[in-house]
């Protein structure tokens, strides 16, 4: 219900005196709980006298916003402009009868009019009442109109509408609260993931810059591959965990300042399986994606990668993206076993590996983001 702009206190009707209170000619009804009198009521009756009579009844009953029309063809426009809380609708009208009006209103939007409708009819047969209700009316009033009955039906339906609106508002608030809580939970989950990523890289990437840059570049690539926004965001968040498995590799291998022996290399390669193992078995899509990336980011497009030698589309797309981001970032920065390459050399190498190490589609995306990639590479 619309708030009472005037802020006036509710007016209590006078208490009846004795068993038969004098009839003042003014219909009085007990005050209702809310500010029902501020409700907007639309009267539709082709007989001007009836429309006027109803208008007067409602105004005397305390309703402040009453509009009437004798032309049923105006109802749709009035429905939009006046935004009624309730409609009093005559059933028998030439051109367009009450059923026709309800049909037109019902055809709009979601198919149901959630503004209550009271049908006005002289036809007291059950069949007529049933038809009116089946057509979308919530109640009916029989002509000749009884003013007590008119105000009472209106009040009851407005009360129901008010409760509906309040409940809807509460549900909305509740949903907002749930959404805010979900966001907070997601943020907390992400933060833990980021810190987990940092922990994994701490020994050879103290500042966590590598993992962050890989996440950033992987996100850019996903964006330029025109993946849905949700997937892009997930790849951005999951990519930094690609080397999580390094947590299980000893310092002597991980930090060795020179080439690894074959045996050391085999051990080093187990970081894909270790990472996937840590991330496995989760129902959270982000972690499942992170698991795929951890396990598959050293697979190569031509099938010569590890751990399983998967090729082409067998490798999850997210892992193909991270492979590009990871190699690009590794080559353009110093490593314990070699110095950084010149950026032009790195880019030339990435291109030359299209269709060999890398998915050609991802390299095409990489070429489109080259300026940004250069900037990412230039950051420490």
């Amino acid at each position: 219900m619309r708030p009472d702009a005037t802020g006036r206190p509710p007016q209590r009707p006078p208490e009846p005196e004795g068993p038969n209170p004098p009839d003042s000619g003014r219909p009085t009804l007990p005050e209702s709980a809310g500010e029902l009198e501020t409700a907007r009521i639309l009267i539709v009756d082709d007989t001007p006298a009836t429309a006027r009579l109803l208008e007067r009844m409602l105004q005397r009953g305390g309703f402040e916003h009453v509009k009437s029309t004798t032309n049923p063809l105006d109802v749709e426009a009035l429905y939009d402009a006046f935004a009624p809380d309730l409609i009093l609708l005559d059933l028998h009208m030439p051109e367009l009868d009450g059923f026709g009006v309800m049909q037109r209103l019902a055809q709009r939007g979601d198919g149901t009019v959630d503004v209550p409708i009271i049908m006005l009819t002289a036809d007291a047969t059950t069949e007529a009442k049933q038809r009116a209700l089946a057509g979308g009316a919530n109640d009916f009033l029989l002509k000749p109109l009884d003013h007590v009955e008119v105000l009472l039906r209106i009040r009851n339906l407005l009360e129901t509408r008010m409760l509906h609106l309040q409940l809807r508002e509460h549900n909305r608030t509740l949903e907002q609260r749930v959404r805010a809580r979900t966001r907070a939970l997601d943020a907390a989950r992400l933060e833990v993931l980021h810190r987990l990523g940092r922990a994994a890289e701490y020994r050879d990437d103290e500042t966590g810059q590598h993992t962050r840059r890989v996440g950033h570049l992987a996100g850019l690539l996903a964006e330029h591959l025109e993946l849905p926004a949700d997937d892009v965001e997930r790849i951005r968040q999951a990519a930094p965990l690609h080397d999580l498995g390094k947590i299980g590799i000893s310092d002597t291998i991980l930090l060795k300042p020179g080439p690894l022996t074959d045996e050391e290399l085999q051990t080093m390669r187990t970081h894909t399986a270790i990472g996937a193992g840590i991330l496995a078995g989760s129902g959270i899509p982000l972690l499942t994606l992170a698991r795929d990336i951890a396990r598959r980011h050293h697979e190569r497009w031509d099938g010569t990668g590890y751990p399983d030698g998967l090729a082409g589309d067998e490798i999850p797309l997210a892992a193909r993206i991270v492979a590009v981001a990871d190699v690009f970032d590794a080559l353009s920065h110093d490593r314990p076993y070699r110095a950084a390459w010149a950026i032009d050399d790195v880019i030339a190498y990435m291109r030359s590996e299209s269709g060999r190490h890398f998915d050609p589609d991802v390299i095409r995306a990489f070429e489109r983001v080259e300026p940004q990639a250069r900037r990412v590479a230039a950051t420490v």
Partner: protein, 144 residues
């Protein structure tokens, strides 16, 4: 927002001094699928029965010897706080506007004229119970 199932689970209390009338209304409700219907022919016992069955809606005959519907509503005032939506539907054979007005002032939400038209009875019942359950749901929301 309120399902038919919920509405038909509503607890209805019938108050009419004529046993035949209570029986007839009970039958109408039963046929319509309302499963929680209680009736009494003793208006003086209404507060007691009210506390026992905790109705969602009261159907009250206005004209009863001994204690009429107006007095019953007065008696119930203590049990129905002002901010609680517990509708009372009154039955009357007298369609005079003054009677209706008095009943509404006494706390009734709506009325039905005897002899009772089944269709109108069901409609009033439905509309009032819908409002009752909306009110209950809202109250629950505000509590939590």
């Amino acid at each position: 927002m309120i399902s038919e199932e919920t509405i038909k689970r509503g607890t209805v209390l019938l108050v009419d001094d004529e046993a035949a009338s209570v029986r007839m209304l009970s039958r109408m409700l039963d046929r319509a699928g309302y499963g929680n219907v209680h009736g009494t022919t003793e208006p003086a016992r209404v507060p007691e029965v009210f506390r026992e069955v905790r109705p969602d809606l009261i159907i009250l005959d206005l004209h009863m010897p001994g204690m009429d519907g107006f007095e019953v509503m007065e008696q119930l005032e203590a049990d129905i706080p002002e901010d609680v939506y517990l509708p009372i539907l009154v039955l009357t054979a007298d369609p005079a506007p003054e009677v209706k007005r008095r009943a509404l002032l006494a706390g009734a939400k709506d009325f039905l004229t005897k002899p009772i038209d089944n269709f109108e009875f069901m409609l009033r019942l439905w509309n009032l119970l819908e409002a009752r359950f909306l009110y209950l749901r809202l109250a629950q929301h505000l509590d939590s």
